[in-house]
Amino acid sequence: MKEIVIVSGKGGTGKTSVAASLVALAESTVVADCDVDAADLHLVLKPQIKKTEDFTGGKSARIVPGKCNNCGKCHEICRFNAVIKDESKQPAYFIDHIACEGCGVCSYFCPEKAIDFEPSVNGQWFVSDTRYGSMVHARLGIAEENSGKLVSLVRSQARMLAEKDNLPYIIVDGPPGIGCPVISSITGADAVLIVTEPTVSGAHDLERVADLAGHFKIPTFLCVNKFDLNPETAKNIEEKAETRGITVVGRIRYDRAVTEAQIKGLPVVAFPDSNVAKDMRTIWENLERELN
């Protein structure tokens, strides 16, 4: 079984459109949407949710009004400025749940044992059916933390499903950037497919996400989306990628069919005669050959 993670560094280069098309082309896959704080893959794969579970990513602190004697110890030791002082209130301290990092230091050292520190629900995750197979996806709660942990959970559930049905591929739609949720999305994966665009930002961000994939020693592949927007930059990006050992698996033409498919709620390969569908098929064929 091969787990392929689609990332980009820069946001909005077309990760989700590529992921949806590869899922449709691969036929026997489990798909995981690991962009848990701005998930979009469900808009084109239309999952029927079969199972919903709460995600408990960490603990959060809460001052119990009747027990607090306003000593201020919590305010003094919290390093995240998450204990707010308001002397017009009783108690005069409360926890700013957005700033709280869930370290529990306030609760541990409260002399009155007046701070509860309990597991908190930070989101939900789902197992669904799509017309292309099973999908694991999630929704991080509003202004919640622990996206890395939720990503790990989504990936492990997808792996369990793929192992159970003995499927050859897991396709993961990853988040943008190079930080916590991206690291959680790619560690231990079999391949990273970088989707970039021929812009100065796309080229710049590709370098950083390629460095990250290299840092974890994961085989890396590249496709340049909307390459005809600036063919010269596209070519430079491909040449640079190849010198660092990244295999170029294809180019995608700029095509309005991508947005039209999105509006219809379908992967773009559902329009097989479009240029972009042809390009997606080439990418999948090349990727499949490289991986086997």
């Binding site: 980009s8 560094g9 820069k10 946001g11 909005g12 280069t13 989700t16 704080d37 701005a38 979009d40 808009l43 960490g58 603990k59 030791i77 390093r79 995240f80 957005i98 700033a99 990092e101 869930g102 370290c103 529990g104 230091v105 541990y108 050292f109 991080l140 509003i142 202004a143 919640e144 933390e145 996206s147 890395g148 988040p175 943008p176 950037g177 190079i178 930080g179 916590c180 949720p181 991206v182 665009e197 021929p198 812009t199 100065v200 930002s201 710049h204 961000d205 950083r208 996400v209 460095d211 990250l212 840092h215 974890f216 927007l229 600036n230 930059t233 947005t259 999105q262 509006i263 709620g265």
Partner: protein, 286 residues
């Protein structure tokens, strides 16, 4: 002109045009005579410098505190491992191991240690660069590769903003910790979207986040098309103000691909950003 205002540009979905709006706005503000500062808080993938081409005057590392164990004093009681919520410190077989990249720097282990065997050192997670691009003050941060936690660096970049200026904060995409750290405490947020199902789904998530934070906000639609009402209808339904629309024009996309400002490629668009500046000033003063 004297002004003291911080405006963040955020989006939910990546690639909708946060950097395009931020840098063009900074340029228009400076040309209008405001003291302007561009503050790039997308420390994972900063791009503003590619367009503003700043002269960097100062570069400094940003550190987070991590524990250092004095093995001579350690009594291997395990209290540090018990208090740590992040599996960043463990006591096994009478010795203490630390995992620095897991550490959030809460200081709990140091406080709980009965033998005073724990001190702290700084661990670098990235750096900040400050300078100027013409009349515009510039600051951005770069997270080191392989580093998971960006919020401490984002905070450091935020504090490099200028007093008595119009600070434009270019936020990272998403709706979780990095963007929240970038926009908390700003005076106004511009949410940039595009009129597609993905753009609007993520705008909805970003609106939920921003309501939770309680910051005044409005929307800019990028890659807009006169015949596509998706974003206009969405804003009306959600009762959020739509400030300006930036047309879906290949000239803007090509200028962006080369690292040029939108209105240097298509001077007609200067007016769009001037209108945006005026409407932000009006909204922010309410």
């Amino acid at each position: 002109m004297a002004i003291n205002l911080t405006v963040a540009v955020a989006s939910g979905k990546g690639g909708t045009g946060k950097t395009t709006v931020s840098v063009n706005l900074a340029c228009v503000a400076a040309a209008t005579g405001y003291k302007a500062a561009y503050v790039d808080c997308d420390v994972e993938e900063p791009n503003g410098h590619l367009f503003l081409k700043p002269r960097i005057r100062r570069r400094y590392p940003v550190n987070v505190p991590v524990p250092v164990i004095d093995t001579g004093k350690c009594v291997a009681c395990g209290a540090c491992g018990e208090i740590c919520q992040y599996s960043a410190i463990l006591c096994i077989n009478k010795s203490v191991l630390t995992f620095e990249k897991m550490c959030h720097g809460c200081g709990g282990c140091q406080l709980v240690c009965p033998a005073a065997a724990i001190t702290e050192k700084g661990r670098e997670i990235g750096f900040v660069e400050e300078g100027e691009a013409g009349e515009i003050s510039f600051a951005h941060g770069k997270l080191n590769i392989g580093e998971a936690m960006s919020p401490p660096l984002i905070k450091a970049v935020r504090s490099a903003g200028q007093n008595n200026s119009l600070n434009i904060v270019d936020a990272p995409p998403g709706t979780s910790c990095p963007v929240i750290t970038a926009i908390r405490g700003v005076d106004f947020v511009i949410l940039v979207t595009e009129p597609t199902p993905f753009g609007l789904n993520d705008l909805g998530l970003a609106l939920d986040m921003i309501k939770e934070l309680g910051i005044p906000h409005a929307v800019v639609v990028n890659k807009s098309d006169p015949d596509n009402n998706l974003a206009r209808d969405f804003c009306r339904e959600k009762e959020v103000k739509l400030l300006v629309e930036i047309p879906d024009d290949r000239r803007i996309a090509e200028a962006y691909s080369r690292g040029q400002l939108a209105f240097s490629a298509a001077p007609g668009y200067r007016g769009v950003f001037e209108d945006l500046l005026i409407s932000i000033m009006k909204e922010a003063r309410r």
